[in-house]
Symmetry: none
C-alpha cells in the first residue's frame, strides 16, 4: 500500500492576468488529464478567513488540529535552520542586536544589528558556539539564520516538567530601552531562565568588541509539541522528502523519517522518491518554490514551477501510488506576496473516486469537485479511506 | 479601511413562480455585474435545519455563536420597541389580558385582552407609566407594542448578580386559570420577583376599570447578554444604520453606535451611510422590507424590494468600500410566510477574491461560488481577512 501526499507549498492563488490565477495560467496537460479522473475539491488549512503559517498549514495536512497543536516560534525557527528539536530541549528564536552601554547597562540601538550579512552571522554564531558549549547542565546549541537571526537550543539531560518553557521574551521590542531579563512564569521555568540569563551575559561579553552584533535578544521560548506520531496514529511507515529544513523538521515532529534529496530540484526530489519507493507506505513530498515565488509576487515564477511539476508528474504516476494527493499547505497568491486564507486546491486519485467533475486542477475547477471544501485536518482520513485502511464505523 | 455589511432581512427564498425564487425573478443588473466579480456562497445562520429568529440570525452575522449567546425574549421585545437595555435592567415581555374576579382572585378570560387596538394599548401604557414610576428602588419603564403586547424594564441602580433574572412567567398559558405569581429561582431573583408582584398588584388596581385590558401577564424575564463588544473583539469603530428599532437594539448589544436614518426608505438609509462614511470603519446596513413581504407571503413585494435595492447599489459602490458583503440574516421564503432554515446567499467583494464563478446573486448561483456553504458566525472572519486585518496564525 503506497500513499503519496504531494504538497506544492502555497499552491492556491488569485487572478494575476486576464482574470486567471497562476494555476489557470500554467500549461499543465498532465495535471489536466489527472484532474478529469480524480476527486477534486479544496481544503481550509485552519479555519475560514484564517491565514496559516507553515507550521499550522502542515499540521493540518498531517491530520492534526492546528488549533489544538501549537508549534512555538523557537521550535519552528530551530527546525527551519536544520536543528533537531528533542523533548529535552528548550528552543528559542534569537536576534543579533546592537546596544550601547550606559555604564554597565546595555540600551538597544538596533534590534536587528543593521541586518548584518548572513556570512557575518555565520562567523559570529561560530564564535559563540566555540566559546559557550554548556551552562549549568544545559548544552548550548546554536544555528545561524539569515541576516541577524539565529536559533538557540538549550538541551537538558532529562525530559522537562510541563510549563518549563514559559519564559518571557528578552526583546524589549523597541530601541532606546534595555533588553529585558529572562523571567520564568513558574519555578521550573525560572530555573531555566537563570541559565538563559547566564548565557546572555556570557554571549554579550564575547560579542562586546563586535561593531554591530554586540548583543542578543531572545524570543519564542518553546518546546517540541507532545503529539502522537504518524506511526502511532495511522500505523503507516512514513517518510518526508523535502529540500528545505523547516518542512523536514515539521515532518519529524510527526515522527516521519527524513529523506534528504541529493539536489534542490523537483527532479532530485522525485529521484529520491523513486529510490525510497519500496521502503515506506506513506510519502510526504514537499515542493517549496511555488510558495517562494508567490511570496516574491513573481507569478510567472510560480507558473513556471507548476509547469515544471506538471512535466515531471508522469514520473510520479509511473510509480503507481495506490492513493495520490496533490495540494498545498495554504495559498500564497502572488498578488498578496504572502500566505493567505483562501481555500487550497486538492486532488485525490485512487481507484475509488467518482471523477469526471472537473476539467483542470485549478481553484475554480476544484469548486465543482466531489470533495467539496473540507478542513485540512480531514484529508488524512480521506487518503486512508481511499487506501481502504479505515475500518467500518459501527455495525 | 471600510467594511460594509449589508443585510437584506430574510433575503433567501424558494421558488414562487416559473420555478424561480424571488431573487431569481428580480431584475438586478447591478447585482448581476457585482456577482461576476465577487466571492459568492451561502451561510447557515445557526445550524442545518434550524430556523433562526432575528436575534440569533444577527448574532451569527456579528460573529457570535448564536448557540452560545442567548438573547432573552424580554430583552428582544424591549429592543424591538426601542427601549435601551442596560446591564442594570431586567427586561420583560408583557401582555395585556382580561380577567374576571372570583372574590379577590383574578381568573384569566382572555390572555390577549381581545387583541385591543394598538392605540388603546398606547393609552393604557401611558396611564400605567404616569402612575407607576418606581417600586422599591426599581425604576419602571414601559413601552407599548402592537395590539396587546408591551415591554417592561425594571431598572436598578447597580449591576445585578448573575441569575437574578431567573423569574418564572406569570402567564398561566390558558384561560380559566389564575395568573401565577412571579417566583424567583434563587434569593436574588426572589427579591426582584417581589418587586414584580408589587408592580402587577399596582397595575391591576389601576386597570381595574378597563373593560378589556384589566390585567397584565409577564413572560421572558431576561437580561442584556454579557458579550464582548465589536470594538473589543475586532477593534473596529462600527455603526448600525437601520430603520427598525429591533435591529438597532441588536447592534447596540454588540456595542455598535446607532445611526437613525431620516426616513424609512432604502434611499434614506443609503443617505445616512454616505453621511457617516468618514466616521466609522465598519458599517452594518439593515434593510427590513425583504423580510416583511416574505412574512406576508407577498413575493411580488419581496421582488420589488430586491429590485429597489439593486437600483440603489451603484450609490453604495461609489463609496468604494474595501470589503462589501451583501447577505441576509436568514431566509424568509414567501411560500412559507415566515423565517426558514434555508442557507442564505452571501456575496463578498474585495480586491482579494477569485470571482468569475457565478453569473447572478441568487440561491442557485451562489452554490457555485468560492465561499461554499459556511456558518454565519465565520463571516466576520472572512470580512476581516479580506480587509487584511487578521494576522497570520502561527509561523
Amino acid at each position: 500500500m503506497k500513499i503519496l501526499l504531494t504538497v506544492l507549498d502555497g499552491l492556491g492563488g488569485l487572478p494575476v492576468k486576464y482574470g486567471k490565477t497562476e494555476l489557470e495560467l500554467a500549461k499543465t496537460p498532465n495535471l489536466d488529464r489527472l484532474a478529469t479522473e480524480s476527486a477534486l475539491g479544496l481544503h481550509i488549512p485552519v479555519d475560514v478567513g484564517i491565514t496559516p503559517g507553515s507550521g499550522p498549514g502542515h499540521l493540518g495536512l498531517f491530520g492534526y488540529d492546528p488549533l489544538e497543536v501549537e508549534i512555538g516560534r523557537g521550535v519552528l525557527e530551530a527546525l527551519g535552520l536544520g536543528l533537531e528539536v528533542r523533548e529535552t530541549d528548550i528552543a528559542v528564536r534569537g536576534n543579533y542586536a546592537t546596544v550601547r552601554y550606559e555604564g554597565n547597562t546595555p540600551v538597544v540601538v538596533d534590534r536587528r544589528a543593521g541586518r548584518i550579512p548572513t556570512e557575518e552571522n555565520r562567523r559570529i554564531t561560530q564564535r559563540l558556539s566555540e566559546e559557550i558549549s554548556e551552562i549549568d547542565g544545559a548544552r548550548i546549541i546554536l544555528a545561524p539564520g539569515m541576516e541577524h537571526r539565529f536559533a538557540l537550543i538549550l538541551r537538558f539531560e532529562s525530559p522537562l516538567p510541563p510549563g518549563s518553557e514559559k519564559i518571557r521574551d528578552t526583546d524589549p521590542q523597541k530601541t532606546g530601552e534595555s533588553p529585558l531579563p529572562a523571567v520564568g512564569e513558574n519555578e521550573d521555568a525560572e530555573k531555566i531562565a537563570r541559565i538563559v540569563n547566564r548565557f546572555i551575559e556570557q554571549a554579550s561579553e564575547i560579542l562586546r568588541d563586535e561593531s554591530q552584533a554586540n548583543y542578543i535578544l531572545l524570543r519564542g521560548f518553546s518546546r517540541r509539541p507532545d503529539i502522537p506520531t504518524f506511526k502511532e496514529r495511522f500505523n503507516l511507515k512514513s517518510c518526508c522528502i523535502a529540500t528545505y529544513p523547516m518542512y523536514r523538521g515539521l515532518a519529524s515532529l510527526a515522527g516521519m523519517e527524513i529523506i534528504k534529496p541529493e539536489g534542490w530540484s523537483i527532479e532530485d526530489e522525485i529521484s529520491s522518491l523513486e529510490k525510497e519507493w519500496d521502503n515506506y507506505e506513506f510519502f510526504f513530498l514537499h515542493i517549496k518554490k511555488t510558495d517562494s515565488y508567490g511570496e516574491d509576487g513573481n507569478w510567472k515564477g510560480k507558473v513556471s514551477v507548476i509547469e515544471e511539476f506538471d512535466s515531471l508528474l508522469p514520473k510520479i504516476l509511473e510509480l503507481k501510488p495506490d492513493v495520490l494527493a496533490i495540494t498545498g499547505d495554504h495559498s500564497t497568491p502572488s498578488v498578496l506576496k504572502g500566505h493567505s486564507w483562501h481555500p487550497v486546491p486538492l486532488l485525490i486519485k485512487s481507484p475509488y473516486v467518482l471523477g469526471g467533475t472537473c476539467e483542470r486542477f485549478t481553484e475554480r475547477e476544484c469548486l465543482k469537485g466531489e470533495i467539496g471544501i473540507i478542513p485540512a485536518k480531514k484529508i488524512m482520513n480521506l487518503l486512508r479511506a481511499n487506501a481502504l485502511l479505515i475500518p467500518k464505523f459501527g455495525a
